[in-house]
């Protein structure tokens, strides 16, 4: 149960003037009747919810993917997506949570378990038989783009191996890698560390937890609170000391900055310090650029590159810094996607009953990519689950923008996804 104050997101329902612009733009209600739209499940339904009630009156809010397009287009400033997230948590609180959603919320644990024997884990997870089983037993769509564990070890294992090679310097930043980089895509972390070191920064990677977002979006607020509290405990001291905390997973940085404190009503001093100390990597690089400190020793990258700013990135409300920075790379022909959402929305598209909705939502993006020409090598996107969905929907490899930047600095092989 939430501790309601005047700052709570629920009170932003007062801003709603019922114009339904959010519904007009909602990518989910555009493709399915199961989701009656953000205004309906958000500010409208909220007037019929009483946090003390023994029963949650509604169910369709579960079909909100949490993409936040509604927040983006709302002319009056209703925090619709957050109202929905809290309503979902109320439902979980009253009716409990499925094993599937509990599992999907725990990607850190799953990542850790698979990392013990990644090859076995990949086989166990990805063979057709177990996918059918997972669909039948758990309700995880058998076609959904689940990640593969890194078979070269986790990012932390790499960091331990390369401790002596890492740059030591007076200028220091903290790196928040998130679970996906840690267990599935350590190369994104390596690219980020290489770029930061290229600018003369020592990169500190302190112990860290899952940011808690998967649990927040599956309505498990109390478990998420534990994760966030531990992150606050370990990271806020760095923020206090003036070290920027930089992340490559844009959903993780969004959670640390805003989603967790807002949804969990955590407004204590340490949480605030973490909020103000956290940066999305390109947001930070843009600052560097605006101060004239971004290195421009780029090699040309001659290619057409569709770039999709994912929903969680847009939710930062910082513009599209990755686009601005990548635009500095010679010969890189960037094509900006206007698609609303790729559909996956974290773990939403993994669920059997939502898989097709996610694919239908993503079609806007997939067709944009297809329209950019037949010989595309890559697409770029700041969020891991969105990249997996993009690859699933287009059969074109997708990379984090930092991988392109690292490649342009001559530090990284885009094909092999490895440092040079």
């Amino acid at each position: 149960m939430h501790n309601i104050s005047w700052e709570s997101v629920e009170h932003t329902l007062d801003e709603c003037i019922k114009c339904n612009i959010c519904t007009a733009y909602c990518p989910v209600s555009a493709v399915t009747d199961r989701f009656p739209g953000p205004k309906y499940v958000g500010p409208q339904a909220q007037r019929f919810r009483d946090i003390g009630q023994h029963e949650s009156p509604d169910a369709s809010v579960d079909y909100c993917s949490g993409c936040r397009v509604c927040n983006d287009v709302c002319p009056t400033g209703v925090n619709i997506a957050e109202i929905n997230a809290r309503a979902r948590a109320e439902i979980v609180d009253k009716r409990g949570i499925s094993l599937r959603n509990r599992l999907l919320g725990r990607n850190e644990t799953i990542g850790m378990l698979g990392n013990i024997a990644p090859t076995v884990a990949n086989f166990a997870l990805h063979n057709p038989l177990s996918r059918i089983l997972a669909e039948k037993v758990m309700g995880i769509a058998k076609e959904a783009p689940l990640p593969r564990w890194s078979e070269n070890g986790s990012l932390r294992e790499w960091l331990q191996r390369t401790t002596r090679k890492r740059l030591r310097a007076p200028k220091k930043v903290v790196y928040f890698h998130g679970c996906a980089t840690q267990y599935y895509e350590p190369f994104v972390g390596k690219a980020a560390i290489a770029v930061l070191e290229h600018h003369g920064y020592e990169v500190i990677v302190p112990p860290q937890n899952c940011c808690g977002l998967p649990m927040l979006s599956n309505g498990e607020f109390e478990a998420a609170r534990g994760y966030h509290q531990r992150n606050v405990a370990t990271l806020s001291s760095f923020a206090r000391g003036g070290f920027p905390i930089i992340g490559t997973s844009t959903s993780c940085t969004l959670t640390l900055k805003e989603e967790a404190p807002e949804l969990l009503d955590m407004r204590d001093e340490a949480s605030e310090e973490l909020v103000h100390g956290t940066w999305d990597i390109f947001e930070w690089l843009r600052e560097l650029h605006e101060q004239g400190e971004l290195r421009t020793d780029f090699r040309p990258l001659a290619m057409v590159l569709p770039y999709h700013a994912p929903c969680q990135q847009r939710a930062h409300r910082i513009g599209k810094p990755a686009l601005e920075i990548l635009d500095l790379i010679p010969e890189l022909d960037l094509r900006e996607s206007r698609a609303r959402c790729c559909g996956i929305a974290g773990t939403y598209g993994y669920k059997t009953e939502k898989y097709q909705i996610a694919m239908d939502v993503g079609e806007e993006l997939f067709s944009f990519v297809r329209e950019q020409g037949p010989d595309l090598q890559y697409t770029a996107c700041d969020s891991e689950t969105c990249r997996w969905q993009l690859e699933h929907g287009t059969d074109i490899a997708s990379r984090h923008p930092i991988e392109f930047l690292a490649a342009a600095y001559g530090l990284y092989d885009l094909d092999k996804r490895a440092l040079l």
């Binding site: 114009c19 339904n20 612009i21 519904t23 007009a24 733009y25 209600s29 555009a30 009747d33 009656p36 739209g37 927040n71 983006d72 287009v73 709302c74 002319p75 009056t76 400033g77 940085t253 969004l254 900055k257 805003e258 909020v275 103000h276 956290t278 940066w279 843009r286 605006e290 847009r314 939710a315 930062h316 409300r317 910082i318 513009g319 686009l323 601005e324 635009d327 960037l334 900006e336």
Partner: protein, 435 residues
């Protein structure tokens, strides 16, 4: 640093940004949500009624009867014509034909409840329902569509002497969806073969000479082609009548103008809530604005520009706010407003009083160069301009001037900005705007 930061993505902000970008300025538009076009009919109203409620036939002539301080009196007729014509050109380039009546007269079009509404320029599909055309209107509605009802519409038109009849069809003819959002329906309408069943059920009930009027849900980007196809399949002229918000014609208008802006090299960033701004003394001893900061997920983000255009609209757009004490304020720069101080002076006893409510005559006062001035008439900031429905002395909803007021004052303000900020000035400045 960019040349021009436009605050607000309504018609004022978008058209100003397009003009400025086309003139060579680097432009960014920030807005709190998507623009306000989705609230309106997608038409461009110039002047429908005078303050004494006289219906206006020739808006450019009748304009002379507006109070001298009215924003539309601050520009000449040629400027108005030119400003509106350029918007027509941009929309035409995006595939949307916007037309007016002959010789500068107002168009009179049916509203969704069957009243005659005056407008100056309308999408050609809306203008196809013009009421000075004697051809009978066959108004088609869909049973589960909650924002459009042909029966009352046709009855009211008949009460006013127009030849009209209503025809209700099942919504299943055009969609398998249960959802009834106009924009979603319009989007679905673009899918191939979507209107075959519709054509089938209409072809044999149409009388010769009739025009077929639909709720405005006939497609989005492919609207023009769809209407042409529908027209030849049914064999009668096709018209659209705008529904309650969210408005499909408004959605098309918004997308078309946003695309024009992108083509001109500008961009819109949404979900940008202005929080604070910085100032400095300029050479002319007048304060200049140095940055405007917007809320992000963490720390405020500063937008630096040479010039700033305030286009946040009035009460509806979010340009002004008020509280229960009767206090009112302009929301970005805290400019002074010409509103009645006490709440009891704000409204008239009757909602539909032709004179309108005093509160909505209030707003931001500007000088001849469209720069905000204070209560004493003194310039407030050297590099701030204002345009659109936040301007004082016009209740554009009451007078049916909403869209033209936005477009015309935006054009005039950009002209004034260009006097001070020639594109050359910014040639050497770093740009964060992408083309």
């Amino acid at each position: 640093m960019i040349d021009l930061l436009v605050i607000g993505a309504g018609l004022t902000g978008l058209t100003a940004a397009i003009r400025a970008a086309q003139a060579g300025l680097t432009v960014r538009v920030i807005s709190q949500g998507v623009g306000s076009q989705l609230w309106g009919a997608g038409t461009i109203d110039l002047l429908g009624y005078l303050p004494d409620h006289t219906p206006v036939q020739m808006p450019l002539v009748a304009r002379e009867q507006l109070p001298p301080e009215h924003p539309l009196r601050q520009v000449d007729a040629a400027t108005i014509d030119k400003a509106l014509a350029s918007v027509q050109d941009w929309l035409a380039a995006e595939g949307f034909a916007y037309v007016g009546a002959d010789q500068g007269a107002n168009l009179w079009l049916p509203s969704a409840v069957g009243a005659k509404r005056p407008t100056y320029i309308a999408p050609s599909t809306q203008a196809a329902a013009r009421l000075d055309d004697p051809a009978p209107l066959h108004i088609v509605g869909f049973d589960r569509l909650r924002d459009f009802y042909p029966t009352l519409l046709a009855d009211n038109l008949r009460r006013q002497g127009h030849d009209a009849r209503a025809h209700m069809l099942p919504l299943d003819l055009i969609t398998q969806r249960h959802d009834a959002n106009n924009v979603h329906l319009a989007q679905e309408f673009e899918e191939p073969a979507r209107f075959d069943a519709l054509v089938g059920s209409l072809r044999y009930v149409i009388k010769p000479g009739e025009r077929i009027a639909f709720p405005a849900i006939l497609g989005l980007a492919k609207h023009a082609q769809l209407v042409a196809d529908l027209q030849s399949a049914i064999g009668a002229p096709i018209a659209e009548i705008p529904t309650l918000p969210p408005s499909v014609p408004g959605f098309r208008l918004h997308n078309a103008l946003s695309h024009q802006l992108e083509k001109a090299g500008g961009r819109v960033e949404t979900n940008m809530k202005p929080l604070e701004f910085g100032t400095e003394k300029s050479k002319s001893e007048k304060d200049n604005i140095t940055w405007v900061a917007t809320a992000t997920s963490a720390r405020p983000r500063r937008h630096y520009a040479h010039a700033y255009l305030l286009a946040t609209g009035g009460f509806l757009g979010g340009g002004f706010n008020t509280d229960h004490t009767g206090r009112s304020w302009e929301t970005v720069f805290n400019l002074s407003l010409t509103l009645p101080r006490h709440r009891d002076q704000w409204f008239r006893p009757e909602f539909l009083d032709p004179a309108g409510h005093a509160l909505f005559q209030g707003g931001v006062q500007v000088n001849h160069a469209w720069q905000p001035v204070d209560a004493q008439g003194k310039l407030v900031y050297g590099n701030l301009w204002a345009a659109g429905n936040l301007l004082a002395h016009a209740d554009a909803i009451r007078s049916r001037s909403h869209e033209a007021l936005a477009i015309v004052t935006a054009a005039a303000a950009v002209e004034a900005i260009l006097v001070q900020h020639q594109p050359a000035i910014s040639a050497g400045s770093a740009t964060s705007s992408r083309t």
